[in-house]
């Protein structure tokens, strides 16, 4: 009898600890959690977060007509808070009529050239980043939900290959720092887990809003590798894989990072 009770008690303990382990299973950390308290407060306060200046600017551009069609984003998409809600959580994705995945800024440029008959905005252009921030901001707090399909999966696999491939004069892969040594320090700075949860980010070092592409180029230069050209498909592939790694984590756009 006592043995049976004991067994039952033990089973209960195991069940409880298993449930607790499952609930706490997600040990992934956004870069937000590795920042100091001052920076976290800066990001959380919408009137102190400099990224919000660009979101505000993006809102103005959203309503401003552009191109030969003289149409604004709002003319087709209406209120961004409704039409763009959750969009950023699933990018990069394959838009209708395209044969390969594009990132959010690529999608904005597609809309510009095809629907507005306007010129493409160049990479890291302030208007492009502001529009991207404005669109992504509509998904703030929503979990990242990458798309699946044969084509997109193939690109994602390519992205994972890039992530694990050693490159550059230092012969490092992304995984060596951001999987194997994440949380440890590199020159006094915590190595983040590289979850793209808040792009475009306002990076204090840049004193400006910047895209994930710019951040990836920083890393490539850091490992003394040759950065791909700005329109290279490698960035989109890598972003696809990073978004898969960060699946379910909440978007923070516009995030502040040191």
């Amino acid at each position: 009898m006592t043995a049976r009770l004991l067994a039952f008690g033990l089973a209960l303990v195991f069940a409880a600890s298993y449930a607790a382990a499952q609930a706490g299973a997600d040990k992934r950390r956004s870069g937000y959690q590795d920042m100091g308290e001052a920076l976290q407060k800066m990001q959380d306060d919408d009137t102190a977060n400099p990224g919000m200046l660009f979101v505000q600017l993006g809102g103005q551009l959203w309503a401003k007509p552009a191109g030969a069609e003289n149409k604004s984003c709002a003319d087709c998409h209406g209120v961004a808070a409704d039409s763009m809600k959750g969009v950023a959580t699933r990018y990069p994705a394959i838009p209708q009529g395209a044969d390969r995945p594009v990132d959010l800024e690529g999608r904005i440029n597609m809309c510009r050239t095809e629907n507005q008959k306007a010129e493409r905005l160049p990479p890291e252009n302030r208007d492009l980043l502001s529009l991207e921030a404005y669109v992504a901001h509509q998904s703030r707090g929503m979990p990242i939900a990458p798309p699946y399909g044969p084509v997109v999966d193939a690109f994602r696999a390519q992205g994972e290959g890039i992530y694990r491939r050693r490159q550059g004069q230092l012969n490092l892969s992304c995984a060596i720092c951001h999987d194997d040594n994440a949380g440890k320090k590199l020159a006094g700075i915590v190595i983040p887990e590289a979850h793209p949860t808040g792009y475009p980010i306002y990076r204090l070092e840049w004193q400006a809003l910047g895209s994930l592409k710019r951040r990836l180029r920083n890393c490539l230069v850091g490992i003394r590798a040759e950065a791909w050209s700005l329109d290279a498909p490698e960035y989109v592939a890598l972003e696809l894989y990073l978004m898969e790694r960060a699946k379910g984590m909440k978007l923070e756009t516009p995030a502040v990072r040191p």
């Binding site: 306060d45 919408d46 009137t47 102190a48 400099p50 919000m52 200046l53 660009f54 505000q56 600017l57 103005q60 204090l204 004193q207 400006a208």
Partner: protein, 106 residues
Amino acid sequence: MSNILVNAPKTARRGEVVEIKALILHPMETGFRPGPNGRIIPRNIIERFTATWNGAEIFAMEMSPAIAANPFVSFFAQARESGTVVLRWTGDEGFAAEERVAIAVE
């Protein structure tokens, strides 16, 4: 096109010390950096920031090239009477921006 974010309380008790925070989009180009063509990018900074409460100056500061882009300013003022706080930024290349906030004092 200027772009400003202001954080100030809408209401305050008479005599209360309130914090006013203001953030503005500005490159704050130092005038010491060479551009892509090797030439020095001309200085383009905000030179002066002032705040007035019903016309009376409550805060002013001179800015220098060492201040980062998109400067964030926070200051305190005593709420004496209901009115409008006018924040004004002026600088190089004829830069001028203004933002108004109404604060009701009970």
